[in-house]
Symmetry: C2
């Protein structure tokens, strides 16, 4: 039993969803793309459906097809990438709702699946997905006469509340959507925290559900325990790991633990990361290997059998900071080698 | 059909194995830990068994159990982490061979599975896994009277041929193993390239099989094609992506492609990475999102339907350099969302 254990706390995800739902007066959906931010889209979505979520978002139709398997008929499954070539059967047969991003997609959808519901994604300045204002002007009349179930856009800087881009995108979104009868959605987690002006009819929290910034009150969701394979004494001057990047300055006791960058422990985080033994932080030493990490456990007694890599002491954002990235990437990188456990009271 | 396609070239893996095998006069095993460096341990190992590989290495017993399913009885499956608590049934029932790292593991193995084969992993200075010289001196007599099938160590700096650590570890390995009857193994890909002194009886190539440095003659193995979701014109001064980190200096045409860091396109690589449309390199613009990347396709005609992210133009090391990491991490991060294809003539 050497593989590390990843425990996903479904109760925490449910609590985070309820807490974000309580911040608005509108409907709260849930984003479960990228396999539920690495946490397991099927388990997460089924749990949130029980909490009352009725609308889910995925990145591509293939994810939507798998999610329909897990959820059964009923909940609405929205696809951010819209209606792409080859998607028609999945969208039609499984009742997915594409968020149409362009004239091309609109024509494809109306021709292949007339009467089938769809949303519209608008670009309000991020220049990533969605129709530009001119394109939307030309299509708005047609779209609103069809089975339009949502009009949405996405904020580029919502994790920076004071960024001028937020108000700018809000203004453009209003200009593009005021007067429509279809429900509107602008905000993911960051937008929810910007306040009621940003909420409209549907919010779409993602990272906040999974315990990441900018929702600082989120309960931690992902917990990783890693077995210790071996503990050894090193003398001052001895090196540890690839490239001899760490040299003991004094006699030390080094544990080698059974996880590495193949488990999503991003290699860049080496020099600044800690793991925990009970209440004791233990510094990562040397380079993170594919399957192994060295940890300084000098003075830790009794000798640890396992360490906490992710959990109450080390949140996803703590690890992200050590790796120079964001909590989202920690979550989606967690990988397939873990023994996965789901916690639900 | 919006999910990106990851094609693993099994013929290339086989060719890389043969090329590395041809560099030595000894047995060539294959390292398929971390799901075959992300390429699929079952498919890779079955192909290499057909090429003549008779010995495979994995990181943990759980990987060994899955590999035994794929390979059937016959090939030897060696487990780097040795014999850990809870591993006995897997090791015994599935005929895995643990590389024993410590006195504790040795006692566990001999008590639980007397007569069952095992290897010994020695620490020659990397201070990661394996017995120290003093521990080995005390156990050597006992070990050699049992079913000892391999004695191995691992080089910390083999990708730097001129590093003094290589000769130092070689010297220590000889001191610890000269006179033994059991076969010896010191080298992975890097060590094979250091020359015959480092080869001993068994080599254990890993990254070289999968097309990564330091085996510069390796054939590329992983090919990623990503669909374009949408193409748009932006004016000078417009921004693309999260945080407005990229601003168009002139009118440009931007494609949004359907992959992101959830697919292992490491977020850090954003500003320095290119994708390819035919023979044309196209710069990544703005931050890499979870499921989406912006690409500058100004002047590319006809408008691309898909781009090459990994393949003949972009090797794993090219992407790794852009992300400030190593090709190994690109491979093991590739993730589960791809449509996976295996190429074999």
């Amino acid at each position: 039993m050497t593989a590390a254990t990843l425990t996903i706390d479904l109760d925490a995800i449910a609590a985070n969803w309820r807490a974000l739902d309580a911040k608005t007066a509108c409907e709260t959906a849930a984003v479960v793309k990228a396999n539920g931010y690495g946490c397991g889209a099927d388990r997460v979505a089924r749990r949130l459906a029980r909490e009352g979520a009725r609308r889910f978002f995925v990145a591509v139709a293939e994810e939507g097809a798998a999610l329909r398997q897990a959820l059964g008929p009923g909940p609405e499954i929205n696809v951010f990438s819209g209606h792409m070539p080859g998607d028609t059967d999945m969208i039609g047969d499984l009742g997915l709702v594409p968020m149409i991003n362009s004239l091309d997609q609109m024509l494809r959808h109306l021709e292949a699946l007339p009467g089938h519901p769809f949303g519209i994604q608008l670009d309000t300045g991020m220049n990533r997905l969605g129709m530009e204002p001119a394109e939307w002007s030309a299509l708005r009349e047609v779209a609103t006469q069809q089975n339009l179930t949502l009009v949405m856009s996405h904020l580029a800087c919502a994790d920076e509340p004071d960024h001028a881009m937020n108000a700018q995108q809000l203004k453009v979104f209003r200009q593009m959507t005021d007067g429509l009868r279809a429900p509107r959605s602008l905000s993911a987690t960051g937008g929810i925290l910007l306040g009621p002006d940003y909420h409209f009819d549907v919010t779409r929290p993602g990272v906040g559900l999974y315990g990441g910034r900018p929702f600082d009150d989120a309960m931690p969701v992902a917990h990783v325990q890693v077995p210790v394979i071996q503990v050894r004494d090193v003398e001052a001057g001895e090196t540890v790991g690839y490239g001899n990047t760490w040299t003991a300055q004094a006699p030390a006791r080094i544990a080698t633990i059974a996880a590495g960058y193949a488990d999503g422990i991003i290699r860049a985080m080496g020099p600044d990361a800690y793991v925990w033994v009970g209440e004791t932080p233990c510094k990562v030493v040397g380079r993170i290997s594919m399957d192994l990490i060295g940890v300084d456990v000098t003075g830790v007694s009794p000798e640890p059998q396992a360490v906490e890599l992710l959990g109450h002491h080390n949140g996803v954002d703590t690890l992200a900071d050590a790796a120079g990235t964001i909590g989202y990437e920690i979550l989606t990188s967690l990988g397939a080698r873990y023994r996965r456990r789901y916690h639900s009271a």
